[in-house]
Amino acid sequence: MSRLKLPDISIITGIALGAGAVLLSLLGNPVNSGICISCFLENLAGAIQLQDSLRMSYIRPELVGFLLGAFFMAKQNRRFRVTGGSSPLIRFFLGFFMIVGCGVFIGCPIKMLLRLGAGDLTAVAALLGMLFGIWLGGKYIRAGSVLDRAQSMPTINGYVLPAIGLLLLIFLFLKPAFIRQGFSGPAAQHAPLWISLAVGLIIGGLAQHSGLCITGGIRNFFLFREKTLFSGVVAIFVSALMVSLLTGQFNLGMEAQPGAHHSHLWSFLAMVLVGLAAVIVDGCPFRQVIKAGEGDVDAGITCFGMVTGAAMVITWELRSTSAGPQFNGQIATLFGLIFCLTVILSYRKAKRQR
C-alpha cells in the first residue's frame, strides 16, 4: 500500500467510501445514509443513553471500524503521533455545532455527497452552503485566524479514544443491559454486523493513510488549487452515483427523497456552519474520527463535542425532520454561526496582539 501515491490512495478511499456506503444501504442501512457520521453519532448517543429515542439507538459498527481502522493503520505505518492541547473547549463546541448543522440539514458532508449521488436535488443548497462555509473559512485562515498549535503529549493520551472504540465493540457483542438497541426505525435498519465492521475498518485504514477529508479537500483546492484530497472527494460522489445507477437506487429530483426537507435556506445555512466549523477545527466530522484514531487528542475532544451535539440534537430537537427544520434547530444553527465567527475574530485579534 505504501507504494501507492497519495492521489491514488485518496481516490481509492473515495471510491471505497462512496461505493461502500451505497452497498451498506443495500445491505440494510437507511436509504441514502449508508455512511453518515452525524446519524451514526446520534445512534451511538442513543445506545449509551445520552438521548432517549429508542428508534435511534444502535452502536454502529462502521463508526467503531473507522476509529480502530485508523488506529491500526497509523500504528502500522508509524504515523501514530500523540499531540493535543490546542483550544480544547473551543474544539469541543465546534464539534457540537458541526453536528447541529448536520442535524438541521439531515446529514454530514459524506451523506450530502451520497444524497447528491442518489439524485437528491434537495442537497444542492447544502452543497452550496458547505462550499461557501469552506471558502469563508479559507479566507480567514489566509488572514491568519487559526487555532493554537498542538503540542506533543504523553502516548497514553492517544490510546484513550481507540480504547473507547474497543469498549464499544465489546458492548456491541456482549449487549449489556445498559446499552440500548431499537427494533424499529433507523436503529433496526442496519447491514450485518460483521460486514459493517469490516467496511468500517477498511475505510478507516484507507482514510488514515490518505488523509481524506471532505472539507479539507475542498479547502485545499480553494486555498492552493491542490487536488490530492479533492480528487478523493470527487471520487466519493462519482462512485456513489455509479453504484446508485447500477443498483437502481438513483431517483433524480426533489420529491419523495428519503430523509430530506424542502427548506433550502436552512440547508444552506446549516452547511455553511458545518463547512466553517470544519475549516476552523481542521477536518469534517469523518476526519475528526480518523484523526482521533491516529493519536490526535484535539480531534478526540472534538469527537466528544460531536457526541454531545448528537445527543442534544435529539433531546433538544436541534434538527430537522422530513417536515422541515425545527425552531430550536434554526436558533442553534444561528448560535453556531455566531460562535464560529466570534472564535475567528478573537483568534485574529489575539494574533495581531502577539
Partner: protein
C-alpha cells in the same frame, strides 16, 4: 535494562503493576461471566427482539379485534356505516393510531383527498412504525399508492384554484409523507 528491572524497579511500581494486572483479570472475568449469563438468559428465555415481536403481534391482534366491524363494512363499500362505527371506536380507543389509517382510507375512497392526506399525516406522526418496513405495522406501500393517486387529483385542483391555501398545505403534507415513506434515518 532487563524486563525484570523495567517492571519491578521499585516496590511502588511493582505493587501498581500487580494491582493493574489483577484488576484487568477480574474485570475480564466479570465481563465474560456477565456475557455468558446474558447469552444463556437469551437462549433460555425471551430476547429483547422477541419481546418486541410479541408486542407487535399483540397490537396487531388487538387492532384486528377493535376494527373488525369497520373493516367488514369497508370491505362491503358501505363507507357511511363504516364511518359511524369508526367514530364509535375512536371514542372508545382515543389513543389508537390505526383509527387515522381507517379515517384516511374512508376519506380517500370518498374522494376527500385533502382530509385523507391530513389523516395519513396524523397516523404517521402518532405511529412512525406505519412507514417502517422493519416492523409488522408497516403500511408504507398502501400509503405510497394512495398518495400517488391523491397527488394527481390535487395537482388538477390546484390548476383550477391556484390561490387555494388549503390545497397548497395539503400538497405540502403529501410531499412530506412521500419523503417519510421513502425512508431515511428519521
Amino acid at each position: 535494562m532487563g524486563i525484570k528491572d523495567k517492571f519491578f524497579g521499585n516496590l511502588l511500581d511493582s505493587v501498581t503493576f500487580v494491582s493493574l494486572a489483577l484488576l484487568i483479570v477480574i474485570t475480564a472475568v466479570m465481563l465474560v461471566q456477565h456475557g455468558v449469563a446474558a447469552l444463556q438468559e437469551e437462549g433460555a428465555g425471551v430476547s429483547r427482539k422477541e419481546l418486541a415481536e410479541e408486542m407487535y403481534q399483540k397490537r396487531l391482534e388487538q387492532d384486528k379485534k377493535i376494527y373488525k366491524e369497520v373493516q367488514r363494512l369497508f370491505g362491503m363499500r358501505q363507507y357511511t356505516a363504516a364511518q359511524k362505527v369508526l367514530q364509535k371506536v375512536q371514542r372508545e380507543h382515543p389513543d389508537n393510531p390505526r383509527s387515522f389509517i381507517y379515517q384516511a382510507r374512508l376519506h380517500y375512497n370518498n374522494g376527500n383527498m385533502v382530509e385523507a392526506i391530513s389523516s395519513y399525516r396524523q397516523a404517521v406522526d402518532s405511529e412512525p412504525d406505519f412507514v417502517d418496513n422493519k416492523t409488522p405495522l408497516f403500511l408504507g406501500e398502501e400509503i405510497k399508492d394512495n398518495l400517488k393517486a391523491a397527488k394527481q387529483t390535487l395537482a388538477q385542483e390546484l390548476k383550477s384554484r391556484p390561490e387555494d391555501t388549503e390545497m397548497r398545505k395539503a400538497l405540502d403534507e403529501l410531499l412530506y409523507l412521500q419523503r417519510r415513506v421513502a425512508g431515511g434515518c428519521e
